[in-house]
Amino acid sequence: MLDFVQQLVSGVALGCVYGLIALGFVLVYKATEVVNFAQGDLMMLGGFFAFTFIGMLGLNYWLGFAGAVAAMALFGMLAERLVVRPILGYPQFSIIMATIGLGFFLRSVSGMIWGTDDFKIDTPFSQGVVRIGSLVLADDKLSVIAATIILCTLLYLFFNKTTLGTAMRASSENMLAAYYMGIPVKRVVSIVWAISAAVAGCAGVLLAPITFVHSNVGLVLGLKAFPAAVLGGFGSIPGAVVGGVLIGVIESMAGFYLAEGWKDVAPYVVLLAVLLLKPEGLFGLHIRKKV
């Protein structure tokens, strides 16, 4: 039982990271119908920014965290302006290739700047544990879960309660109509990219004490976050997080209870099963074309 809870918590923590990356996929997809395959690498970059601010420049953890997230937001806007906007309107395939290319670019450049070693960031959660009876939970994992809950609540409030959030939902639903309601759609899209890169940056910083920072971390995690987004229905914000947590828990349980090798396969087996039974994903809208 104790083992089970222990595995559950670390699965949820890992799943939250998947969920945060998946959230980035979903935000960009909803706003522009572009799948940004560099999302995992944006997370990696967030980790490196945090490492630079905290590990190299010696800033306070929270300052470094805020700095990394702000830098990522700017970087997201820049990536949208330079890589995506010039080819918007061209076939999906070109845009997807461009984001894959952006991912390669980010991995190589960060390897050139920071090297290919693993880096560690000292955080206030690095060493501590919480004991409940004989249950021992690491602070770094709990911090990921707490931060995910806070971020999701903030994003939910932002999208549903503010004018800018509403403008974003309107633009993602019908760009043409949004324009004629007086919504500057291009600016809105650029803010969406900023938010999604900032969320990825948060994930990168939170993950730093758990998996270390290295230039390929985003590729691996991005590949896990993608099924999380699909599982959640690709387009649903709560779906992305729930999908991420599911994948994380399945992975962690499979690693513990099943034979060697199942750990990496199990999430995809579940994904295939879900897609067979519910092709629109767990939270996806069932769209029926009116004829």
């Binding site: 324009y179 759609v185 809208l285």
Partner: protein, 252 residues
């Protein structure tokens, strides 16, 4: 000076002249219809005015301001609203939400105020809601207020799109084939609303329309187009009897 005017508007796609040296003016409070056979350039003119296309040459003025280079969202903020021939609504939202998005150009609250849930934000929202309720009443949409767009019939959606445009309190409204897809009864309602928009709300109307009976009932003036050029301009009856217009419609 005219309220709205297009000067020597042209839109060329390579050698094809979709719109060719079209000039016209709309007076404040007028209902002006653009008619013409398919491919005459009616929709192109609409798309030029609402800035989906940029004109090859020519200028567009609204309230003596040159709007030729303005982006679409800026056009909306100046008080020009439009509807679409094929209806562009927010499908997965309720009627009320759609109309509230129409209020976007009047939103004055700042993001930080909203995040702090200041009382002024609440007061503002209430004011928007009141305006939207007036539009709902004006167009008899009460039974549909909380329904999702995706479940509503075509005729009702057409009225909702008009309602969303009216929610933005426009000065000038562009209607792209307001009667297309409507039955006789719905077209009758539409003609009353178009006239009421002008008399009760003081909105200037520019519309593209195929249904000649609707055009005759509501228009002060009519512009007939063919092959991107103006054939005739004037009162509906006069334009319809113009020999060039008759020839264009009958293909002579």
């Amino acid at each position: 000076m005219s309220y709205f005017r297009a000067e020597n508007l042209a839109l060329h796609f390579g050698g094809l002249k979709a719109v060719d040296a079209v000039s016209f003016a709309v007076e404040k409070g007028e209902i002006l219809s653009i008619i013409g056979p398919n491919g005459a350039g009616k929709s192109s003119i609409f798309n030029l005015i609402s800035r989906i296309y940029s004109p090859t040459s020519g200028k567009i003025f609204f309230e003596d301001q040159d709007i030729t280079e303005q982006p679409p969202y800026a056009i909306a903020r100046l008080g020009i609203a439009r509807t679409f021939q094929n209806i562009e609504l927010f499908e997965n939202a309720t009627v009320l939400s759609n109309l509230l998005v129409g209020r976007h150009r009047h939103s004055t609250t700042q993001l930080w105020q909203e995040l702090l849930f200041l009382p002024s934000v609440r007061a503002n929202e209430k004011a928007h809601r009141r305006r939207v309720e007036q539009v709902i009443e004006f167009l008899d949409l009460e039974p549909y207020r909380d329904k999702l767009i995706s479940g509503l019939p075509y005729g009702v959606r057409k009225v909702i799109e008009l309602a969303r445009a009216l929610s933005s309190e426009p000065k000038l409204i562009l209607l792209d084939e307001p009667s297309s897809g409507l039955n006789v009864e719905e077209t009758d309602d539409m003609s009353f609303w178009i006239r009421d928009m002008r008399t009760e709300l003081g909105i200037t109307v520019l519309m593209v329309e195929h249904d000649m009976s609707l055009v005759n009932r509501v228009s002060d003036r009519v512009i007939a187009l063919n092959s991107g050029r103006v054939l005739a301009m004037g009162p509906p009856a006069e334009v319809q009897q113009h020999p060039d217009v008759v020839a264009a419609y009958l293909g002579a």
